[in-house]
């Protein structure tokens, strides 16, 4: 699969799930670099280039974000809300990748402008298939928002 360049940011606190996800993407033939942050606060630092990530350039911005809901420090829905509240991350493709299929989580995620919501399958074969389809769709089929638009009109909320 010839996918676009760009990193995938995986926001996941469970090391088992990180290992599973990395293998699933590898198995699916997705060669994009996958960076992992393990809580909501770190995710925000990374995406806003602040804290430990201060000074990181716009080219470090991931092509897609895979966001868990149940996260330490700042929860996934709150991370999503804050990303959508900032002009520079408002159109960033964000995919919820979570165990939960609670109706309220789905409602909250879509209300706050998530692009996609995928439930982690228990079965690894299905997990790998989900990873393959996520990669196929979001890194190949889907047209990403223009990078200029990501930064333009900042503060015009």
């Amino acid at each position: 699969m010839e996918t676009r360049q760009g990193t995938i940011l995986l926001v996941e606190d469970n090391p088992d799930d990180v290992a599973l996800a990395l293998r699933a993407f590898k198995k699916a033939g997705i060669a994009n670099e996958i960076r992992v942050v393990s809580d909501g606060e770190e995710a925000l630092d990374y995406l806003f280039f602040q804290g430990a990530y201060a000074g990181w350039g716009e080219n470090a911005r991931p092509a897609i974000v895979l966001l868990d809901i149940n996260l330490p420090k700042v929860g996934g829905i709150e991370v999503l809300k804050r990303l959508r509240g900032e002009a520079r991350t408002r159109r960033l493709p964000i995919i919820m990748l979570t165990s939960s299929k609670e109706e309220q989580d789905l409602i909250d995620a879509y209300d706050h402008g998530v692009n996609s919501y995928v439930r982690k399958p228990v079965d690894f074969v299905q997990f790998a298939e989900a990873a393959r389809q996520i990669g196929l769709y979001w890194l190949l089929l889907n047209e990403e928002p223009p990078t200029s638009a990501l930064t333009a009109r900042s503060g015009s909320l």
């Binding site: 088992d16 799930d17 290992a19 599973l20 979570t98 609670e102 228990v122 079965d123 690894f124």
Partner: protein, 450 residues
């Protein structure tokens, strides 16, 4: 006093007439006028006197009537003149205000009679007393006080209405107040308030336990699945990366681990489904159970087209309830019938409604001619995790009928089963008021089995 003016007028008239009568009499005697004139005069005078007498007695009857009303009326009536001196203080007012003598009016009035604000702590200030207000020309409507004195040692609540009184020239002439004992009403109100408070506490507790249930379900959904994913995932890695180093038995073990995880995943999903049935809000809509059953049968047939099962289109079966929940219930019941006729020749599944019974309750049924069950288990079969067949013969988690039962109970209905080993099973259920064509929401009755 309304009667004052006509009385005065009548007295004046009588004086004029008797003066006329006297004059006529003297003139008649002096001038020797005819007896007829004299007689007419006499007659006129007598008629006047009779009229006068009637008017006076009528007035005094009215006064007596008024007096009698004020004395016997259940409400306390107190009237005072402009100086604050009481002119009326009826027995009911006495019963409320106690036997204490009026003194130092109005400064000590509240203390002498034990008149408090409704908080029962402070005496009513003299200027706030309805009579004092009336004597200032102000009206009072339904002011509530608490009274505790020699005649009412336990204390009573009263409602007071006061009005100023004016004379015919519009000058303030006094005041009148009406006192009503509202203790019973107040006690009822207090009881209602108390019940409301209890209800609030209960509601809070319920909300709290619902929240706990919700976070429990959330935890089941999220936290239990994560380790399961790890077990099955890393088991899969073992198979993929180390298959060559494992013998058949080792690979079989990993396969069993994998199957166990799959089952546990299903179990978690079904437990969640069960708890969702209790938590979700119940809709109340018209549902065609026949169409629902046909669509579920269609799905089952599409999944296993090789199976041939006789299924009669039940036509329109009207019910009122939650369409989503009723679909879940029928899915489980028909799914069971589908499952337990797997080894039956000429398998048949039937869905319908019994003729309406005398109670007017609709009874729906799902019947099959599958493996059936022993009736001695019939009371346990709606409890969670109850299974009556081996996993190898008929796989399942034992939650299907528990889910069905919970759906039926949420509708305020009942469910029961009849069966015989080898001959099939029949499940009957009602939907409470929802079973009637014009049923209303029955709420969350959980009577019967839990």
């Amino acid at each position: 006093m309304k009667s004052g003016r006509p009385l005065f007028f009548l007295l004046a008239l009588a004086l004029v007439l008797s003066w006329g009568f006297g004059v006529s009499f003297h003139r008649a005697a002096r001038e020797g006028a005819s007896f007829a004139v004299f007689a007419l005069d006499i007659f006129l005078g007598a008629a006047t006197l009779a009229f006068l007498w009637r008017e006076i007695s009528r007035n005094s009857n009215q006064a007596e009537l008024l007096n009698s009303i004020v004395t016997n009326i259940g409400d306390g009536v107190v009237a005072a003149d402009a100086s604050g001196k009481f002119t009326v203080f009826n027995p009911a007012a006495r019963k409320i205000m106690g036997e204490n003598k009026m003194s130092d009016y109005p400064d000590k009035w509240a203390e002498n009679h034990g008149v408090y604000y409704p908080n029962r702590a402070n005496f009513v200030k003299p200027e706030d007393l309805p009579m004092a207000r009336a004597l200032r020309g102000e009206a009072t409507d339904g002011a509530e006080f608490f009274v505790k004195n020699d005649l009412n040692p336990e204390g009573i609540f009263i409602s007071v209405t006061g009005r100023p009184l004016f004379d015919e020239r519009g000058r303030l002439a006094g005041g009148v107040v009406v006192l009503t004992d509202i203790t019973k009403r107040k006690l009822r109100e207090a009881r209602v308030e108390e019940l409301n408070r209890d209800l609030e506490v209960l509601t809070q507790k319920l909300t709290q336990s619902n929240k706990e249930l919700e976070s429990f379900s959330y935890s089941v959904a999220h936290d239990l699945r994560a380790p399961l994913r790890a077990i099955t995932g890393f088991g899969q890695f073992l198979l993929e990366d180390y298959a060559a180093r494992l013998d058949d038995q080792g690979r079989d073990y990993i396969h069993r681990i994998h199957l166990g995880c799959q089952r546990m995943g299903q179990l978690i999903d079904e437990l969640l489904a069960l708890s969702n049935i209790t938590r979700r809000e119940l809709k109340n809509e018209k549902v065609d159970m026949g169409a629902l059953a046909s669509s579920i049968m269609g799905e089952l047939k599409a999944a296993e087209p090789e199976r041939s099962i006789e299924f009669l289109d039940p036509g329109n079966i009207e019910a009122v309830g939650d369409p989503g929940l009723l679909r879940i219930a029928l899915q489980n019941l028909i799914g069971n019938a589908w499952k337990f006729t797997r080894k039956t020749k000429n398998a048949r599944i039937e869905i319908g409604e019994e003729p309406v019974c005398l109670c007017g309750e609709k009874i729906f049924f799902v019947k099959d001619n599958g493996v059936g069950f022993d009736m001695k288990y019939s009371n346990r079969m709606f409890d969670p995790f109850q299974r009556f067949h081996s996993q190898a013969d008929f796989p399942g988690e034992g939650l299907g009928l528990a889910i069905v039962s919970r759906v039926i109970l949420r509708h305020g209905g009942r469910i029961w089963a009849k069966g015989e080993v080898g001959k099939g099973a029949a499940f009957y259920f009602t939907l409470g008021n929802g079973g009637h064509s014009h049923g209303n929401e029955t709420g969350d009755h959980t009577a019967g089995r839990g």
